[in-house]
Amino acid sequence: MRYGGDTSAVQVVGDDGTWLLLDAGSGLLHVTPLVPVEIERIDILLTHLHMDHIQGLGFFYPLRDAGVETHIWGPASAVRSLTRRLNRYLSPPLFPVHLRDLRSLQIHDIASDRFTIGGFEITSDLIAHPGPTLGYRIEENGKSLAYLPDHEPALSGREFPFDSRWTSGFDLMAGVDVVIHDAQYTEAEYAQRVGWGHATVEHARMLAMQAGVGELVTFHHDPEHTDDDIDRMLAAVDSGPLRVTPGQAGLELSL
């Protein structure tokens, strides 16, 4: 497979060596061998708690290493804490380890927030996807990355994407060097899946153009799409001045 078959996980390493993990899908298994032995802290920014974005957590060994301070950040809920919601997966019978047994783990409930991790300035905001779902903007030393892996911006309204005030995700993406954005469907598929929480390649392109983004990395490929399908979807896009990079397992970008 050229594009890969794992679910969402993105590693970000700062100029000062700070580690961020964006989501904890099955792709996290490929990150584990890269974790430096001497690392003292890892921060995992979850966009939401759908299984494809957290299923790698239970197999991420640094979580069980008492010498590594691990922070999980994720969307607040009006009803139940992030800890209690994560407990539904990270507990028997679905998983043999209890969250409460992970002594060096700290969990942070966030919504529209700004915070600092190492040299990173991070902005989180809720975006259009079923259930509380976050997008992130990560900035360091004048460089910027936005991460909106599950996003249906077309639900913003009939004027999408031309009215930035009324477009989900716009502020997170505005002027970033790179955006990693949902690009799951073709136009024909989306017509049958309005409200499912995902975008077409064209939606992602239009939004990136409107937001003045430098590079769009297409993400969250549909599991039923073959590599050839994805090639065709991307070939059909007239990217214009926008650089469009197909997201694929192992892709490395330097900002």
Binding site: P75, A76, S77, A78, I110, A111, S112, D113, D125, L126, I127, A128, P132, L155, S156, G157, R158, S164, R165, W166, T167, S168, F170, D171
Partner: protein
């Protein structure tokens, strides 16, 4: 201009498809969106004239109880939902700048977003056939 919160964006999208008049106010009481059925009550089109601030809104209507007693702006359902953070329902009569008078019932709800954010209020209006 800063992007609106996702809760308000989705609410506006929903309202744009509804056949009943819907108003959406921001936290400061500005009417940030009203749908096409609401345009008839207001006597103005959103696409042409945009949002309406509280002062302008107060000038647009004469609002009374069904018996004709004037209702202060702060006692209107959407104002109370905004200030008191709980739903409000009321029957009332409005007359707009075009002289159109109608009896309506209004249900207003505060927009309480994730993370404890107070994002405004919205109201659904229903024209009464037997006031």
């Amino acid at each position: 201009m800063t992007q609106e919160p996702i809760e308000v964006i989705l609410l506006r999208h929903w309202a744009s498809y509804m056949a009943i008049p819907i108003w959406i106010c921001g936290p400061d009481g500005t009417l940030v969106f009203y749908n096409e059925p609401a345009e008839g009550l207001l006597g103005r089109r959103f696409d042409e004239e945009g949002e309406i601030n509280t002062a302008e809104l107060a000038d647009l209507f004469v609002t009374t109880d069904l018996d004709g007693t004037p209702i202060p702006a702060a006692d209107l359902p959407i104002a109370r939902a905004l200030s008191e953070h709980h739903p409000t329902h009321r029957h009332l009569r409005i007359r707009n700048g075009e002289g159109r008078e109608v009896a309506i019932e209004v249900s207003a709800f505060p927009i309480e977003g994730q993370g404890g954010r107070h994002l405004g209020a919205f109201a659904a209006l229903w024209e009464m056939t037997t006031p």
